[in-house]
Symmetry: C2
Subunit: 404 residues, 2 copies
């Protein structure tokens, strides 16, 4: 007699089905596919010789520490390093404000455990990072999508709805946002709207989770202050990550928040994975202390600039005149809106199988059925030549295979 | 105006308070403390020169892979390596049976998400691993403690209660057990009881989660088959870890189960931390392929044998005649039961501050208030000299400070 698994799965497990993220990994495994899908750094963005030198140092001088357990909130020296860096970036922090996490998605999972009860209202941008949708969905909450435009999330819409929710006594607990070089849109939340959003959070008493995975990867235009740097109440919980500026494989991110939040996060993490990997922390610390994060950020931003320009100029040349796309000033993504008769989910299989080119269809970035005629292009990973070759192939495949 | 955090925390966060695990880390930080507290390998159990050589190979040949994202279930080659190893250990497995996790505690968290709904009944041994209690508690379930004796968990007690729970239609969903060199007791579940337990799981249709963190670290006596190797239905979900046989700092464990469970685990993990760290996986794979896991297991077991013998002979000499302790054949721990008038929780502060010696008090290993006169000694980390010196100091400090 074998087990009937379906009978044994929890309600969460029963409703958890295949997601677009898994598909991304599969699509990118075929070597002949030009992939604009996964949001990965390109291999030549890594500083390999520098990393080799750092690794040699870590394993020759700190091998025992690298192999042993670290404390749950991260190594103290590493927390101090991150705190000093946050301070330099206009977000004053000390060690007790920093919790090291296994990637910034883990930080979001911990924050979900910390702030969310079943049925709570949670706000995200539409479209938004699909990993965040996956994580927030596990808490059985009511996710509301705040619409966005070229200036980021629409604060007037938000205020109107906050007023209504306040009357119902059903205000949101948290708002999750990627205000700078948003995933998937590449957009930046306008400075005036940043102030407006902070006022709304204060007035309606909800937390803002600011995911700034891409904020340092600006390749044109003027920097806009982070929400955290404008925050006077400790209401913004900042999520940082080394995935785009050092290495995604080290699985290291951090949360910058009030000490109360960090303390609770440490306790909750003891039931999750206890601590982040020690080797990664020591590598990242040594890499950072040598000033190499800044070097990699500069190097990566330059490459992103060229790749974004190539992508935009190819889109201009190859895509039909009734399509639109965002013009990012930094980060990994442009967000393409096609004529309404094109269904990007249906077209994906055709694009991959016939034209060997991949992207992520728009609906992956929404909680409900939206974005059917939209798609995310990640220009970070493919080379300039592949971008040049891939966009025309994509345009043609969408025209052939995209009719809904 | 600052945020009133207590008003914002979820019900889970509100009830999550400081745990013994955090205290362990703090206690062991003072260099003059002889710590029998944390369940860590000793620094000289690591094979440092071999690891340095492995690291050199990984960073010179696979640096890009080591820095990049890996797939959610782990690198395929690493899953294959673990599957082959499980097969050699009499637990036949293929890649689709293996999910790599960030330590085996993460596997338990994923399994909780997979099998547990609020209010479900869950079984653990009493005493049991405190990390498991922490993790299972987050699911708002009813944890029942199955009592244990020198042969491990009491299957007759279990059967009696299963019958009663069956009549109430409230059977448990899972049983979490560490059948070999249990944490904290060091005991081994008797072979007859293993068969009996499997029959009960089959008859009453619940899952067994077998945590085998210590099973390979036998230093005397004859091996007993794992529950997984006796399992004919796929009902046993096996948790393995590299924390005690390679390095806890790599944060790598695995789950060995039916493909349905692994598939669901991959999906659930996409909302948690997406994947394990790549560097650790590549290091562990290269280390394993060179046969070094076996070398480290042998080396560690020999050291544990000496340390356990020193611990037991010192206990014999120094502890009062009305106290008892287990005599482990492997693993890290002995479990000490003192006269009832000694309160090990109250005594801990005195032991650390006055005698500079640390342990974990018994109640940490129970869900409810039990084990007040018990404590766990981990003999793995301190050197032979420190054990020799520490046990008499502990005996005296308990006599002075332990009266409840």
């Amino acid at each position: 007699m074998t087990v009937n698994w379906a009978e044994h799965f929890s309600s969460l497990a029963s409703k958890t089905e295949g997601s677009a993220l898994a598909d991304i990994f599969k699509l990118t495994e075929r070597p002949d596919v030009i992939s604009f899908a996964g949001g990965f750094p390109a291999p030549d963005m890594y500083l390999i010789p520098e990393v080799q030198d750092v690794a040699k140092e870590v394993f020759s001088r700190h091998a025992t520490k690298a192999l042993g357990y670290g404390p749950t909130p991260g190594f103290s020296e590493f927390r101090d390093f991150i705190a000093a860096r946050q301070t330099r970036l206009d977000m004053p922090a000390a060690r007790q404000n920093i919790l090291i996490t296994s990637g910034s998605l883990q930080a979001l999972d911990l924050l979900g455990r910390m702030f969310l009860d079943k049925g709570d209202r949670v706000l995200v941008e539409g479209p938004t990072y699909l990993g965040a949708i996956t994580t927030l969905s596990t808490f059985d909450v009511q996710i509301e999508t705040v619409p966005t435009d070229e200036k980021g999330l629409q604060v007037e819409w938000l205020e109107e709805h906050l007023r209504a929710w306040s009357r119902q006594d059903r205000l949101p607990r948290i708002l999750y946002t990627i205000p700078t070089f948003q995933n998937p849109s590449g957009r930046v939340l306008d400075l005036d709207r940043r102030y407006y959003l902070l006022e709304l959070a204060c007035h309606y008493d909800f937390m803002i989770i600011e995911d700034n995975a891409y904020g340092e990867l600006r390749f044109r235009g003027e920097p806009v202050p982070t929400l955290k740097s404008l925050d006077e109440e400790g209401r913004v919980i900042y999520l940082g990550t080394l995935s785009k500026v050092f290495s995604p494989g080290v699985r290291l991110g951090w949360l910058h928040a009030e000490p109360e939040v960090v303390r609770k996060g440490i306790l909750l993490r003891q039931g999750v994975d206890q601590c982040s990997n020690s080797i990664g922390q020591l590598l990242a610390l040594e890499f950072g202390k040598r000033g190499l994060l800044e070097k990699q950020i500069q190097h990566t931003s330059q490459m992103l600039k060229q790749k974004a320009e190539m992508t935009l100029s190819q889109l201009e040349k190859e895509f039909p005149p009734d399509s639109q796309w965002t013009r990012p000033e930094g980060g990994f993504y442009t967000w393409v809106t096609l004529p309404e008769y094109i269904d990007t989910q249906k077209a994906l299989l055709h694009c991959v199988e016939k034209a060997r080119v991949a992207y992520v269809p728009g609906p992956a970035f929404y909680c409900r059925n939206q974005g059917q005629n939209q798609l995310r292009l990640c220009y970070s990973e493919p080379s300039l030549d592949k971008i040049k070759e891939g966009i025309p192939r994509l345009a043609q495949a969408l025209a052939e295979g995209g009719r809904g």
